[in-house]
Amino acid sequence: MRVVIAEDNALLREGLVLLLTSAGHEVVAAVVTGPEVLPAILEHRPEIAVLDVRLPPGLRDEGLRAALDARRKIPGQPVLVLSQYVEETYAAELLRGGAAGVGYLLKDRVGRVDEFLDALERVADGGTALDPEVVTELLTRRRDDPLESLTPREREVLKLMAEGRDNSTIARTLVVTERAVSKHIGNVFLKLGLPPSDSGHRRVLAVLAYLNHT
């Protein structure tokens, strides 16, 4: 895949280039500051852009803003946003324009190389990758409610769905059959009163919308 990356820390930038190159991807541009991001994306039209939230000159949320700008200019442009910490608010802003081709992960996750590359490809293909920490946050803050009626296994399935995993990945992660996963998902949707939905990003949105609604 052709990738544009934006990361101001030289160590991490080189690490990312090395990691992506060794996985057979091509880094067509590696920029350092926020204002450079959009021109680089418009010029190279990468299959995915990997952006750090905090970029010079302000070291605030320039990377996030660049990601939103890019998706406004090029609808559906896959972006994977990385950060030292995750904020629900940022996740919500990223997902506002649709969950297709959106990734938001802690930088820590890059260390799990296989999982990171998997998420990268998922997002490039129009899927979603949401950091488990965001999802956990969403799950723990609901106090009422139908969530209580879920079995522990169903909660795990819900969590993985919200992170953007597909059925086969969920089955592998939980070491169960895909049939079992489908059954759990059916139960979850039934208990939460959600309309059944296919396994794509629409499902992620439905689950997140439910978790976000208080």
């Binding site: 905090r54 949320d61 910490y85 608010t89």
Partner: protein, 388 residues
């Protein structure tokens, strides 16, 4: 006899000055209503602080006169008349010394003139009596020294009326005591915070990094003999690294939440509101937009933790499902009001984080009040003084 007359003349001279001052005060007092009326109109508002300044000069003159006569200094304590016009008018009116001075001025019209007239009446008698008694009979003068008593009275009354009220110095002393205490608290809190951060890093991230490094080292040794064992050591090492990162994130959040530096207080509070699990209305008055100057970091951080704690308590303990947060920039600093729709009855002693919040606010010389009647609602109001 000669000496007694000189002494009496000096005293009477003071009384003459006092009478002159009283007459001048009549003119001044006649002008005061004019100043008050002019203050009512917008253009004339400046006359009020000026009038108060004249009053201060009159009182100051009397203080010096009385001090010179009696040898006892009369302290002076005024609030400074500075700042914008509205502020000067407010200070002029709220300074208790303004009203004390005014009271003196009115009473002085009476006793300043009265003592002078009394002296004028006594003089002929004194000259006659003491002229005969002392001048002819060689005795000590009797009546002439009494003229000085009149001046003594003037000085004593003036001192009683013009000495700043005990309220003022008590107020200042109280303020100094409060500042000393909060400053000591702030230093203690800062020290405790540094120790906590040091301990968190030492026991947490640092220890994990040491363990991680050991595991990587072991994996290197084992790599050739036992690749499978090395792999599991590397797995464990990666776990350690991730946990170290998670702990570092927590430490950083507790020091200064990153979203505060990204988005400022308003953005960070909106994020808190969105993730609180309650329906929270956030209202903002006169606070920095994205490009305006921001409050100092310490104020923003304190404000953030106030709102975070208040919303956490509302969600956990109050049974509320709604809350309102109001952030406003006021002349003296930042004001935060958090109100929930819960059942009330919250206590600071109830193990909540409210005590910590009160300390944090007090360390910045701020004030926190909580009203939480049983049955609700709970309202927390915090004022953080600062200029930005």
């Amino acid at each position: 006899m000669r000496e007694a007359i000189d002494n009496a003349l000096r005293g009477t001279y003071r009384l003459t000055v006092a009478a002159g001052l009283a007459l001048g005060s009549y003119v001044f007092l006649a002008l005061v209503p004019l100043a008050v009326v002019l203050t009512g109109t917008v253009i004339g508002a400046g006359t009020l602080p000026e009038t108060v300044l004249v009053l201060r000069h009159l009182a100051g003159f009397k203080r010096r006169q009385a001090a010179e006569w009696s040898g006892v200094e009369i302290p002076e304590a005024y609030l400074p008349l500075t700042g914008r016009l509205g502020e000067r008018v407010r200070t002029a009116l709220t300074d208790p010394q303004t009203w004390r001075d005014l009271r003196w001025l009115v009473l002085h019209l009476g006793y300043g003139l009265g003592l002078f007239i009394a002296a004028l009446v006594v003089w002929p008698f004194a000259l006659l009596v003491d002229g005969a008694w002392s001048g002819l009979l060689g005795q000590r003068p009797v009546l002439l020294p009494q003229l000085d008593r009149l001046t003594d009275l003037d000085a004593a009354w003036s001192r009683a009326l013009l000495t700043p009220g005990p309220g003022r110095s008590a107020e200042l002393a109280e303020r100094i005591a409060a500042l000393t205490a909060t400053r000591a608290d702030a230093i203690a809190a800062h020290g405790a915070e540094l120790r906590r951060i040091e301990r968190d890093l030492h026991d947490g991230a640092q220890a994990r990094l040491v363990a991680l490094s050991m595991r990587v080292g072991l994996a290197r040794r084992q790599f050739d003999r036992d690749p499978e064992g090395a792999r599991s050591l590397l797995d464990a090492a990666q776990d350690q690294a991730e946990q170290a990162l998670a702990e570092l994130r927590q430490v950083v959040r507790a020091i200064y939440p990153p979203i505060l530096s990204d988005r400022g207080l308003v953005g960070a509070v909106r994020a808190l509101a969105a993730s609180s699990g309650l329906t929270v209305a956030v209202e903002v008055d006169g606070l920095a937009g994205p490009d305006d100057p921001r409050p100092p970091a310490a104020i923003e951080a304190a404000g953030y933790f106030v709102v975070a704690e208040a919303l956490t308590n509302a969600a956990r303990h109050s049974g509320a499902n709604r809350a309102a947060v109001h952030l406003s920039r006021v002349p003296r600093g930042l004001r935060i009001v958090v109100r929930d729709s819960g059942r009330g009855g919250a206590h600071e002693a109830g193990g909540s984080g409210l005590l910590g919040i009160r300390r944090r606010v007090a360390a910045l010389d701020g004030a926190m009040t909580m009203t939480s009647p049983v049955g609700g609602p709970t309202t927390i109001e915090v004022d953080l003084p600062c200029v930005w």
